[in-house]
Symmetry: C2
Subunit: 240 residues, 2 copies
């Protein structure tokens, strides 16, 4: 991205809020800024929208650039247009929210220390907290630009939509073979609270099974490593 922009026009950029659920916790991807402004600060991956790309296409390009990944669930989050959000000039940002399964994201992450990094997210009523491991803790105000606000908006949107959209399923390693326990873990990570397993099962079955959106799979067809405890039934998200 150019470090100085023409001062007489409005530029359009895209920022990607790339989310995953790792070990029962919601995580997001931040990269460290190599140059000014906010040199050395952590920031969401961003990219100017080019003449020949839609914002959606730009957001997907950017995602593929960060993680060599084919595709992922993406949805437009909000457009941020405050006048001084970028010191280089007038830049508005269309933020996108991406959900990537941890098992797919994990092998694509570069080695520790370099490049982008995952941060655990906490947003309990009060302020945003980010935890990057090795004692690295950030608050929303530590981030570049208005990216703290973008993250807050994204997490709240995710929480609001989780129980009337399919969004939770996109965090599952394989929506065509998952257990209700795995789905519950996604809910608990996103909502940052525990959920009663029994009631969760009932809710999901009412919401999806009756309408045919999910169905049980014969476990013999889907070999799975099993841990302790009674083995769980395998469900799949159906096509229609």
């Amino acid at each position: 991205m150019a470090e100085v922009l023409r001062q007489d026009q409005v530029f359009v950029s895209v920022d990607d809020l790339i989310l995953t659920v790792r070990e029962g916790r919601l995580n997001l991807l931040l990269s460290r800024r190599a140059g000014p402004p906010f040199k050395g600060c952590w920031a969401l991956p961003g990219k100017l929208v080019e003449r020949a790309d839609s914002a959606e296409a730009t957001a997907l390009k950017l995602l593929r650039q960060m993680l060599p990944i084919r595709e992922a669930f993406m949805e437009q989050l909000y457009t941020f247009t405050e006048l001084n959000r970028d010191p280089r000039g007038r830049v508005i940002s269309i933020a996108y929210l991406a959900a990537v399964p941890w098992e797919r994201l994990s092998p694509l992450l570069p080695a520790e220390g370099q490049g982008p990094r995952l941060f655990g997210v906490s947003l309990n009523g009060g302020a945003l907290g980010l935890e990057g491991g090795e004692g690295l803790r950030l608050t929303g105000g530590d981030l570049a630009f208005d990216h703290g606000r973008i993250i807050e908006t994204g997490v709240q949107r995710l929480r609001g939509k989780i129980d009337y959209t399919d969004i939770a399923f996109h965090f599952l390693n394989d929506p065509r073979a998952f257990t209700l326990g795995e789905l519950q873990t996604v809910y608990e990570a996103v909502l940052e609270r525990t959920v009663d397993a029994s009631n969760f099962r009932r809710t999901i079955q009412n919401r999806y099974e009756e309408t045919g959106r999910i169905a049980q799979t014969d476990r013999a067809e889907v070999p799975r490593k099993r841990g302790r405890g009674r083995p769980a039934a395998i469900y799949r998200l159906t096509d229609q």
Copy 2:
């Protein structure tokens, strides 16, 4: 708006979806395009975002330009960025949804035939329908640009948010003195279906009265023209 735009950059515009509830029906404001492209077509009011204005400020300016009005509820709807949505060049549009009480909008509308015009909206599962009076009926495809899609997005958003936000109150002439019947009319217009008055009352009272968001007003303080039937209690939306 210039009829030819520079071909090497991305322009940012704002479109306003100005909504009101008139005679129990959801209505929106369209203007007829004076010049190309889509000359003579009906379109949402739009405006390029200038260097020194946020999108929100641009949307408000545009609203004030259409209706000499001080302020109104506005909320960002969605950003449309398809490549060929504007034949003049590369223009993305940040759509805003505005809610204006009919009693405030009504005296500001220009005489029939000239300028902007109100259209009744119908969106029943199938396609979007617009009714402008005098036998003037449009479908979403008759509109300029992608404005049919913008309207569909806006109506669906409004329906989705009406019962967990305060948005319905902004269609009331005076949120500090309204009856539950008036509020019910807003709901029925937005949802395009009837609502049981008794259950509606119970729901609203549970949702707002217990939390102190609305309160009953002494009717003596608020003189009101009365129609037929038992006079209704007057409620007000409280500050906090």
